[in-house]
């Protein structure tokens, strides 16, 4: 692996200092990092999951709507931010890797560096009602 872009490094460092759950991906959608607050919602430590391609993380957490119907990856805020390079927001349900179903609200936005370099995207999310 090679050194990450400085904007991703700084984003990870910021995420490591926040109590807000944060999920960080590169321009291809590969999961690069999620922080400790996110681990509690996703049900597994990042050290155990490691980096993960978009088609894996967008399904492994089994996102559904309120009635339990599976959501297409393309409808998830972070995938919208990645594909359309714009902010996106939504509420949905996931099943953490600890088997617990959680209602979350997520806001995602692209990371655009100097000279309009597209370097990745970030999602921040909370459990609804907590």
């Amino acid at each position: 692996m090679s050194q990450k872009e400085i904007e991703l490094i700084l984003a990870r460092q910021l995420a490591g200092c926040l109590a807000t759950p944060i999920f960080l991906v590169d321009p291809q959608g590969t999961l690069l990092f999620y922080n400790e607050p996110a681990e509690r919602i996703l049900g597994r430590r990042f050290e155990e999951t490691g980096e993960m391609p978009v088609d894996e993380w967008s399904t492994i957490f089994k996102p559904t709507d309120a009635r339990g119907a599976p959501l297409a990856p393309e409808s998830l805020p972070l995938v919208i931010a990645l594909n359309e390079c714009r902010p996106a927001h939504g509420q949905f349900w996931i099943e953490g890797l600890d088997g617990v179903r959680r209602h979350i609200e997520a806001t995602a936005f692209p990371l655009i560096g100097l000279a309009d370099r597209y370097v990745g995207a970030v999602a921040i999310f909370w459990e609804v009602g907590l």
Partner: protein, 292 residues
């Protein structure tokens, strides 16, 4: 290539008897290639004296190095636009010399061009002369812009961890590599530095360099009080050099409050505790390094 330090002080020019050995001028490094190409890294106050020994064109100056002949082109590579890195620019003689091409490379911001950012300093009320009124022929190039070449030098630039857009440079020629990271805080936000190379600022620029000129502004205790200021402690500079497997480290960008005796003591203590496997030469104004 031959690398000469013309200014090694950080943040503020600090002349005086207590800083005479390490030098009081702010960041400026000359890099001369075998073909006579000259790069200047940063335009701190050290660039004024450098300008006096670079020969003018046409014909040599009274202090000219005949081997170089008259300078027709000079390239100034700015890492960023904090004052200690540009304050000497207006006093750089070649910028005021008709017939010389001066190429300035440096970072734009998200909203302002390099030209607009430079003219914030080089215009009244901060300076009486406009950049556009300098008699040399000026070319501005924004970085990072991928790899580029100047004469025999192949140059890479990349953004690094320091407040405001800041780049580092990796300069290669004839199999030798110089990396210049004068303002750099790779330890920012890291619980235990050093850690993963993939997640450390500046690693790609510095990996395996023959000579690394790196920020070493603080003591360890000072760094703890100044996290986020954009600089490294001397021990962190050593750790970064070890992580990137460089052959030779030059601790640089000394804090203006550190006297020569302070720097002697700080470097000696770090050498004793770090026991580096690479060479270390203190960043002393006037020092030169030949890389082959």
């Amino acid at each position: 290539m031959r690398v000469t330090l013309w200014g090694t002080r950080g943040s503020l020019a600090s002349p005086g008897p207590d800083t005479a050995r390490y030098g009081g001028n702010t960041s400026c490094v000359e890099v001369e290639g075998h073909d006579g190409t000259v790069l200047i890294l940063d335009a701190g106050t050290g660039i004024r004296r450098l300008g006096l020994v670079l020969p003018l064109t046409p014909g040599p100056s009274p202090v000219a190095d005949d081997r170089r002949g008259g300078m027709r082109r000079i390239d100034v590579l700015l890492t960023h636009l904090h004052m200690d890195h540009i304050q000497g620019l207006a006093f750089f003689r070649l910028l005021r010399t008709p017939g010389v091409e001066v190429h300035i490379w440096g970072p734009a911001s998200a909203t302002l061009s390099l030209h607009a950012r430079l003219t914030r300093y080089l215009s009244p009320p901060l300076f009486p002369v406009f950049l556009r009124d300098m008699p040399s022929t000026l070319f501005l190039h924004e970085v990072p812009c991928g790899d580029f070449e100047v004469g025999e030098f192949r140059i890479s630039s990349a953004l690094v961890c320091h407040p405001d857009p800041t780049v580092g440079y990796r300069i290669a020629a004839s199999g030798a590599v110089l990396t210049y990271l004068p303002d750099h805080e790779p330890a920012l936000g890291v619980d235990r530095f050093p850690w993963s190379r993939d997640w450390t600022s500046g690693v790609a620029l510095a990996a395996g360099a023959d000579l690394l000129i790196h920020d070493a502004q603080y003591t360890g205790d000072e760094y703890a009080e100044r996290i986020g200021f954009g600089h490294s402690s001397v021990p962190q500079a050593f750790a970064f050099a070890e992580m990137t497997e460089v052959r030779h480290l030059v601790p640089f960008h000394h804090d203006p409050a550190h006297t020569d005796d302070d720097l002697d003591r700080l470097l000696a203590e770090t050498m004793a505790s770090a026991r580096p496997q690479f060479a270390v030469t203190p960043g002393v104004e006037g020092a030169s390094f030949d890389l082959n």
